[in-house]
């Protein structure tokens, strides 16, 4: 197990990441990640009900993310 107090001294160089997603602006990154966040559709749930879940999506995406439960 690789744990030691020295570890915090090193974060990967930010430039490395920027090269991977070269040229993509913030909105493009967000839209890309959101595009990946789709409900599973192969659960045998009737399409009508799935459509309702998908209709909730804009609200879900704009609502507050959760950090701690109260």
């Amino acid at each position: 197990m690789i744990i030691g107090s020295f570890l915090y001294a090193f974060l990967p160089p930010f430039i490395m990441v920027n090269e991977i997603i070269d040229g993509k602006e913030l909105d493009a990154k967000l839209e890309y990640i959101i595009s990946k966040m789709l409900p599973l559709v192969d659960l045998g749930i009737p399409q009508e009900k799935m459509d309702k879940f998908i209709q909730q999506r804009p609200y879900e995406l704009s609502s507050s993310p959760d950090h701690i439960d109260y």
Binding site: I3, I20, L30, S64, P65
Partner: protein
């Protein structure tokens, strides 16, 4: 794309407990947040956002701050909320000062309160002693009992909790309507004690599996996370909690008492994760800055690398980046608990693919019409 952001702020770095797994270092500055800094933070987040402004006040131990500080926090929020945002304040406490009277005073002001409790006295006193090394679990438990379920609870899955799932579950269910079992993250003081605290990967999976099964088969309305969130996530496309989603993580910032903003409240002892200081830079310049975007870059990086081909990446985003940093030293890695999370998603998906299991879980998370 304008996204509302949430703040988790340290009202103080002082604490009345000395927890073995504290995310802050034992030797640290003991600063209180000046009300002027709090005002600047609240004003900035309210002005930046368009729909809601949610503030979680943590520490250290936030209840070491007097009620006049908390009343000022409420007043400041109301003063600046000209746009009529959905405004809320929460306090996350260790519970030692959370008497019924103090709870009433704070909830009357408008705060929601969450407390930590490790599920049973033995575990609580093992890892969460007072500054002088005294057992204070009984006092905390009495405070929580007196609230009659009116507070959310957080427990931490350490090596010591493995094997005690039934007792922990039963207690959390009796004490609260909503609880969360968090993975132990070896950060701060917890990093020094990680050999004793960090469960093995298989242990963490089996323990969380047990908690999931206890929750799934429970007829009550008790909510236990992360499972409720994970199930909802499979229906809605993403798990809304920050430790499962880069999209959620990106939208929750941490702040220390002097107004430095961090990628995460958990990383407030890691200088490399500072993304700005609210006393020097406007929030508009900090949110979406190159340093802030690393949360999003991590998702893309993982998708092209370690998590290539994993169906669960949209639902876990490689896990909490601070977990990854704590374990491997690389913020961009997937988390230590990757296999645990995958195993849990496999379990849940297995249940969702049976008619009975799907109905049961839909009911558990309120997804039935």
């Amino acid at each position: 794309m304008e996204l509302d952001v949430t703040l988790v702020a340290q009202a103080t770095e002082k604490c009345n407990l000395d927890c073995d797994y504290c995310y802050l270092a034992k030797k640290r500055l003991k600063r209180d947040m000046n009300i002027d800094v709090a005002e600047l933070l609240i004003k900035s987040f309210i002005e930046h956002n368009n729909q809601f402004a949610h503030f979680t006040w943590a520490g250290g131990e936030p209840l070491l701050r007097k009620n006049d500080f908390w009343q000022d926090i409420i007043n400041i929020g109301e003063h600046y909320n000209k746009k009529g945002l959905e405004l809320s304040h929460s306090i996350q406490t260790n519970g030692l000062l959370l008497t019924k009277n103090r709870h009433k005073e704070l909830t009357d002001m408008g705060f929601k309160i969450g407390s930590s409790f490790d599920g049973c006295l033995e575990l609580q006193d093992l890892n969460r002693k007072s500054k002088g090394g005294k057992d204070v679990g009984q006092s905390i438990l009495e405070n929580i009992v007196a609230l009659e379920g009116d507070t959310g609870l957080i427990s931490v899955l350490t090596k010591d909790m493995v094997g005690k799932e039934e007792e922990v579950y039963k207690n959390l269910r009796e004490l609260s309507q909503k609880a969360r079992v968090n993975f132990f993250v070896p950060s701060g003081e917890g990093l020094e004690n990680s050999e004793d605290l960090l469960p093995g990967k298989e242990e963490s999976y089996l323990s969380m599996k047990k908690f999931y099964e206890l929750w799934k088969n429970d007829e009550s309305d008790f909510i236990l996370n992360p499972f409720s969130s994970m199930v909802r996530g499979l229906f809605l496309g993403w798990v809304k909690t920050c430790d499962f989603s880069s999209y959620a993580c990106y939208r929750i910032l941490g702040a220390n008492p002097v107004g430095e903003l961090f990628l995460c409240s958990r990383s407030a002892n890691i200088p490399e994760t500072i993304i700005g200081n609210i006393t020097e830079t406007g929030l508009q310049e900090i949110v979406g800055s190159e340093r802030h975007q690393i949360i999003l870059d991590r998702f893309v990086n993982l998708e092209k690398g370690e998590c290539d081909g994993c169906d669960y990446l949209p639902y876990c985003s490689g896990g909490c980046p601070i977990e990854a940093l704590s374990y491997s030293g690389n913020f961009m890695d997937k988390t230590y608990y990757c296999e645990t999370r995958k195993g849990l998603f496999d379990l849940i998906l297995g249940d969702l693919n049976t008619e009975n299991g799907r109905s049961r879980l839909q009911e558990k998370v309120g997804m039935l019409e």
